[in-house]
């Protein structure tokens, strides 16, 4: 089984630094998700691991062996490309079996393995089609199939589910996770879908502008974001980050006259509270004006204008009776408060008792 160690990895394109200072240890048999905004270097990192590009600095160690200079074919890795990279001249069947054939794996297994993968991905009826005759989602599933069938010890997936509908994606998620566990595959997975990241990952690496912002378990990432960036990046809608000011020596929401915020450490400049941790409460201590209401079926998001402090989104279950322009009162537990300093780093003085044992 293969762990992956990236040591001060760097990749430059001309004078553009795509990634730098990437140190990650992915333990064998675990599932790591790379998360981050578009263009932050997720695909680049995957490509370095796969050996498709050579890093301009740093090393890649897989299963204890320094593979930085090894060609991709000798790394025993499977990969789902963000752009699928299907062979246009091969049928779905041939695309999926490509790896088995070139690696000369016993032919008698092919049929059974193909059948299993095709069924898993709902491709049974499409095996004889060419990629150009498939819908986007079907193509993506073929790409997935090609990676899944190989059962390589290390698997890299770059947004493998982005073009699938919710239900299929849900099923796939479960299947991939099951497969990964069952075969002890070391998985590095790129996704934009937070639910995916949260529900699948053992560890999440949050990238920002080519650097690591936070590397943690999903719970920790959610409960203890290391920075304002991490706080804002995780959660839909993201955490509300409100501006603070000091009134008579105590921190309060900017533009408000209090109340003082408990637990704010020295130098706290911003307060973060997740929408799901805020509630509309007639007894709430913060007064706000409803800016807009968005309905999402299971719940609604009420955007509340807190003046100089900013706008806070509040998640309320079901349809909200609020209307834009109404005045409401907000409330939240001190336990759910996150404070950030001037640099954007989280301040240690804000424990999250709810999630602590």
């Amino acid at each position: 089984m293969s762990s992956i160690v990236l040591d001060s990895l760097e990749k430059r394109y001309g004078d553009h630094l795509a990634i730098s200072g990437i140190d990650i240890v992915v333990e064998a048999g675990t599932f790591t998700v790379l998360l981050g905004p578009s263009g932050c270097g997720k695909s680049t990192t995957l490509r370095m691991i796969a050996g498709l590009d050579t890093p301009t600095a740093g090393t890649v160690v897989i299963g204890g062996r320094d593979v930085t200079q090894l060609p991709p074919s000798q790394r025993r890795i499977s990969m789902v490309f963000q752009s699928y990279a299907l062979f246009p001249h091969l049928s779905v069947r041939e695309n999926i079996l490509f790896g088995l054939k070139v690696r000369r794996e016993p032919a008698r297994d092919h049929a059974a393995r193909l059948q299993r993968v095709a069924q898993l991905l709902g491709l049974d009826a499409l095996l004889d089609r060419k990629p150009s005759q498939l819908s986007g989602g079907q193509q993506q599933r073929v790409a997935l199939g090609r990676a899944v069938i190989s059962e390589a010890p290390v698997c890299l997936m770059d947004e493998p589910l982005s073009n699938l509908d919710a239900q299929l994606r849900h099923d796939m998620r479960r299947e991939i996770r099951a497969l990964q566990r069952q075969l002890g595959i070391t998985m590095v997975y790129v996704t934009h879908d937070q639910t995916e990241a949260m529900s699948m990952a053992d560890k999440v690496v949050l990238l920002n502008g080519g650097r690591i912002e936070q590397h943690d378990t999903p719970d920790a990432l959610y409960a203890r974001p290391a920075s304002e960036f991490a706080a804002r990046f995780i959660g839909t809608p993201p955490m509300n980050v409100l501006t603070l000011e000091t009134l008579h020596g105590v921190p309060v929401l900017a533009g408000s006259h209090g109340p003082a915020l408990r637990g704010a450490g020295a130098g706290a400049q911003k307060l973060g509270v997740r929408p799901e941790h805020m509630r509309l409460d007639i007894t709430g201590r913060w007064r706000a004006r409803v800016a807009s209401v968005e309905y999402f079926g299971a719940d609604s998001i009420v955007a509340c204008d807190l003046g100089a402090a900013g706008i806070a989104a509040v998640r309320v279950p079901g349809a909200s009776p609020c209307r834009a322009g109404e005045i409401v009162h907000l409330e939240w537990d001190a336990a759910h408060q996150h404070f950030f300093g001037a640099s954007g780093r989280a301040l240690p003085s804000s424990p999250s008792p709810l999630l602590e044992p």
């Binding site: 796969a50 490509f98 070139v102």
Partner: protein, 299 residues
């Protein structure tokens, strides 16, 4: 608007645009290829006019004559061997060259140049240079083999070696030419496919066989048809190097046609031979084209 008439008009619009686009080229082709070619076909049913003796209709007499002409049969056979000997080798080499100079080989700019030179050099000059290479005793080949104490061979003067010697020149001339097209075609293949194949553990050979080769099929098709046609069309080197000799051992069909037409001035017979050549070429090219084009992947 009525849907069905509208449908018709869209198809027609498409057709008209298509026709307009091909029209200039086809008109010129008709004027300078088809019309003269048809005239050639027409002439094959007549005797050759000589001065005031006009051509008279002779039906298939020219064809009967041809069936009895041993030189015709010999040149046809020679040509078949020539095609067999040159086409696969030159296409194979062309592909290898393209792969080499497309890759990260050191000095590939120079290599590209080296491979391409045969295309740039005029055939007459080249044939003369090859004549030197083949000259017994002090020719380049003789000088090299002489170093190893091998006997000097009269390459162009022996019936056994004359045709193969010409084949080598042809391969040399053609491989670099076809390489250019492979090289250009390689640029159209997305590099991700290579990456995907490598990740799957494909060796370079496997990548070539399973991905590159099928994707290069359109080019191969093009090159094959051209190679086939060239095998019947390139004769400049025959003219300079052997004039078909010794004793027709290296006579190729077109060279023979050339002799009949431009040395014997038996235009009717030349036309007859041409018709046969055309038929052979058209048939093989058409079969090859239809067969391959249908199997060719064009994305």
């Amino acid at each position: 608007m009525h849907a069905s008439t509208a449908r018709l008009s869209l198809a027609r619009q498409h057709a008209i645009t298509g026709w307009l686009l091909v029209l200039p080229a086809v008109a010129l082709l008709a004027a300078f290829t088809h019309y003269p070619a048809l005239a050639t076909l027409w002439h094959s049913f007549f005797s050759t006019p000589k001065g005031s003796r006009p051509a008279r209709f002779v039906g298939l007499e020219n064809y009967a004559l041809m069936a009895d002409d041993p030189v015709f049969w010999q040149s046809l056979w020679n040509n078949l061997w020539f095609a067999l000997g040159t086409i696969p080798t030159s296409v194979g080499l062309a592909l290898a060259m393209a792969l080499w100079v497309n890759g990260k080989l050191s000095g590939r700019g120079l290599l590209r140049m080296a491979y391409f030179t045969p295309t740039v050099l005029p055939m007459v000059a080249v044939a003369n240079i090859w004549l030197f290479f083949y000259t017994p005793q002090y020719g380049l080949i003789a000088q090299v083999t002489g170093l190893f104490g091998l006997p000097s061979v009269n390459w162009l003067g022996s019936r056994e070696t004359a045709l193969p010697a010409l084949m080598l020149v042809t391969i040399w001339k053609e491989a670099g030419f076809f390489m250019i097209f492979y090289l250009a075609a390689l640029q159209g293949i997305p590099p991700t496919l290579r990456e995907a194949a490598m990740l799957e553990g494909a060796s370079r050979g496997q990548y070539f066989r399973r991905v590159l080769w099928p994707l290069l099929m359109p080019t191969t098709l093009f090159v094959l048809i051209n190679a086939l046609i060239n095998a019947f069309r390139l004769v400049d080197h025959v003219v300079v190097m052997t004039r078909g000799g010794p004793d027709n051992a290296s006579t190729l069909l077109l060279f023979y046609i050339y002799q009949v037409g431009f040395a014997f001035w038996d235009t009717a017979y030349a036309a007859t031979l041409t018709v046969v050549l055309l038929a052979v070429l058209a048939a093989t090219a058409w079969i090859k084209f239809n067969w391959l084009d249908r199997r060719t992947h064009y994305q």
